[in-house]
Subunit: 449 residues, 2 copies
């Protein structure tokens, strides 16, 4: 009998072993650290990782008597380096914040820690999670674990890569346009952007108040469920929730209208086709839809609001050290796009007016299935890829899960996005569990292998 190396376990599987007494958090942490040690020079997913600190925390967790352990006991979590952690630096991949170490936990981190999680290290990010140039600015570039010559996506580059490479079972990202879902697709893992403002963003670098959302990575839906429960995301639902089966379910297969959005590449087009076929083969109804007239300016408005928000968000850093800011961020502060307040407000208000309409559209289906990324992860590290297909869920505040399961022309992973209306996060997770089983079993890519 061969035993799975602990680093390959999902967090939920590791927890089963902690409960059974067949694995300690320290041994688990050692296994993860050995995986990191063997792979770090290839993937470069970490902005900060102190093995001694990890082992010390693991020891503390092992010393907690079983009856006092939290629901996330021993769950190892990588944290995108734009989220404050009391015991580690937060550097934002910015030359301004090298080795900066505010002694405070973000709200999300405090919730995770108090529930027993093992905060493992800080993962690489593009500058302030706001540029598209692959990290890091000061060291080797983060590589896609499935082909290090390619980008893992961004801006949550290290979180996506570390989970995809079994260096940690769970990681936190953020999403302002497509920074969580795109790396989910590129690294072949589950990625979730919950409903906007359903998890505290306190202590998470600000780019846009109305778009920024904490993102979650894992290699299993069970692990996402652990997190949603700790963050107390509850739907308006009967308890226990309604069961969900693909058989008899109704899905929309969404493609985005051009030229407002780009055309999907061949890999994504094939994944959409295959995904619909699989769902139909399992007894679901799949209706092909696109976004109607009323939604067409959505992406343009999204980028307009973002420009206005970036102007505000980066002003303090600009005053502090404008010579160390990326030109894109300088452009925000200088209002290089010459956006008027009137244009900004129209964009802000029109997006707000679209949200209940998008909910109404989503509520006609068990979930909307759409593309997560243009195609496989592109070659190179100078761009983290297009976020266009991830924008709508962000702008509309709706929850979205990247479900892995497909492969592109070069054998790299491609995922599809499942979306529902706002605050149906737990429902969406139930749908994603069942859809994920089908996609991973029959689509050609498995997240956990």
């Amino acid at each position: 009998m061969t035993t799975t190396e602990p680093f390959r376990l999902t967090a939920s599987e590791a927890q089963s072993q902690f409960r059974a007494g067949t694995l300690t958090v320290q041994d688990y942490a050692r296994s993860l650290l050995s995986r990191v040690a063997s792979r770090d020079s290839t993937v470069n997913a970490w902005a900060y990782l102190d093995p001694e600190l990890v082992l010390a925390r693991a020891r503390e967790l092992d010393q907690i008597p079983p009856e006092k352990r939290g629901p996330l006991h021993g769950v190892a979590i990588g944290v995108k380096d734009v989220i404050l952690t009391k015991d580690m630096p937060t550097q934002y991949n910015s030359p301004i914040y090298v080795d900066d170490k505010p002694e405070v936990d973000a709200g999300s981190i405090l919730t995770l820690r108090t529930n027993g999680a093992l905060i493992f290290g800080k993962t690489t990010t593009t500058e302030f999670a706001a540029t598209t140039m692959g990290p890091s600015h000061k060291g080797p570039k983060t590589g896609n674990p499935h082909d290090p010559s390619r980008t893992p996506g961004g801006s949550s580059s290290g979180s996506g890569a570390a989970v995809g490479d079994f260096q940690v079972p769970i990681a936190l990202g953020t999403q302002t346009v497509g920074s969580t879902i795109r790396p989910g697709s590129f690294n072949g893992i589950y990625a979730m952007k919950p409903t906007w403002n359903s998890i505290s963003r306190e202590g998470q670098k600000l780019y846009s108040l109305i778009f920024d959302t904490l993102g979650l990575y894992s290699r299993s839906v069970d692990d996402l469920k652990l997190l949603l429960d700790a963050f107390q995301l509850v739907d308006d639902q009967p308890v226990p929730p309604e069961p969900f089966t693909v058989k008899g379910a109704k899905f929309a297969l969404l493609t985005y209208p051009t030229p407002e959005w780009p055309e999907p590449g061949p890999g994504t087009a094939a994944a959409l086709k295959k995904g619909a076929e699989l769902l139909r083969a399992h007894g679901a109804e799949v209706e092909e839809i696109t976004l109607g007239e009323e939604f067409l300016p959505m992406y343009k408005y999204h980028l307009q609001v973002l420009a206005g928000d970036g102007r505000i968000a980066f002003l303090p850093d600009y005053y502090f050290a404008k010579d160390k800011l990326d030109p894109l961020l300088l452009g925000h502060v200088h209002n290089a796009g010459k956006h008027t307040r009137k244009d900004q407000l129209r964009a802000f208000d029109e997006l707000a007016a679209m949200r209940p309409k998008m909910d109404a559209l989503a509520d006609k289906y068990d979930a909307i299935i759409g593309p997560s990324a243009l195609d496989e992860a592109p070659v190179g590290h100078s761009s983290t890829g297009s976020a266009a297909f991830c924008g709508p869920a962000t702008a509309m505040h709706i929850p979205v899960v990247n479900i892995p399961g497909f492969k592109g022309e070069n054998g790299l992973p491609i995922g599809l996005s499942a979306m529902s209306s706002r605050y149906r996060d737990q429902h969406l997770l139930r749908v994603s569990r069942e859809v994920g089983k089908i996609f991973e079993n029959e689509g050609g890519w498995k997240s956990a292998l």
Copy 2:
């Protein structure tokens, strides 16, 4: 000839003296500190104040050569103790955070410091700026400087009181319902809540993403202008901006419909009447208006969204130390109001839909003049007073300035709110300057005496 003691100067007046070489920042700081020393046991406005630190920073500022001094050189600023300051603790008036000192500046603080401001100390607040019980939990209650048996209002209690008492010329507050404007009225000073999300909220304790706004206190419009310029608030306006004169201007005099809002008390009712008379006497047109049908659920929706947001914002603190949270905040986390997600979303979306309508209403006038508070500051410290009249500007994201100038039946100050549409902050300031001259000269209360 008597010389004004430096602590009585506005920040702009102090700056004139710095430029003329007739006052150093150190001497100015000593004067402010002496005022604090003589008044602190009566007013109790400070949660943290280290005279040595203030004097050390003042010395550093004096050493900067004149040509390298920032636009806010030597401007002394009190900071509400829910905003992170790198060199001082941030305690939120919460037993959880006693002596807590994250080594990081909020975005607003970084902007002020890099422009030359003297960050003076931390001012008292209600717990997390989210309860209505007068601070502090661990020491004497903050008193209204004009009658210490009365509340200075809240949640920005210490900021309003310190500026009203000449202990500091400028202070920062925050507003989620009425936490900046109400203390402005109660302490007889200028208070401004700029357009929502026009100044970075990074590092400012989160209660509600969609409502929380940084607030500004001063005893002169010139001082507010200094701050707006440092924060780069610019309107869509020709430069130089249009001049503004009360003669020929058009104002709305707004009263809120009952029973959705309360009736103003006698002092506020008299101030509204007198304010309208004064504006008319100076050649303005004043149209009496109330909010129409479409705005009636505004305050109900505001409180619904707030409950949902509080549920998210205080969850981390709840996990960390639920026994140390105020019952109001526990109620948020427990969803004591049993708000459904559907209700929350309807409230969120309906408020969003009202915003362009409120802009359109405001744009019919040079400014809307309305009540800031129910009446004079109430007696006692167990309640910081009703925020009902401040809610609309917060919910609608529009800028509002409390203009002092009136007195109530007990001789305590009463201000009125001037409001315009979103992102007309500089316009509103020009209007407030002219209106403020009239109210302060002829209304019965002067902020700077």
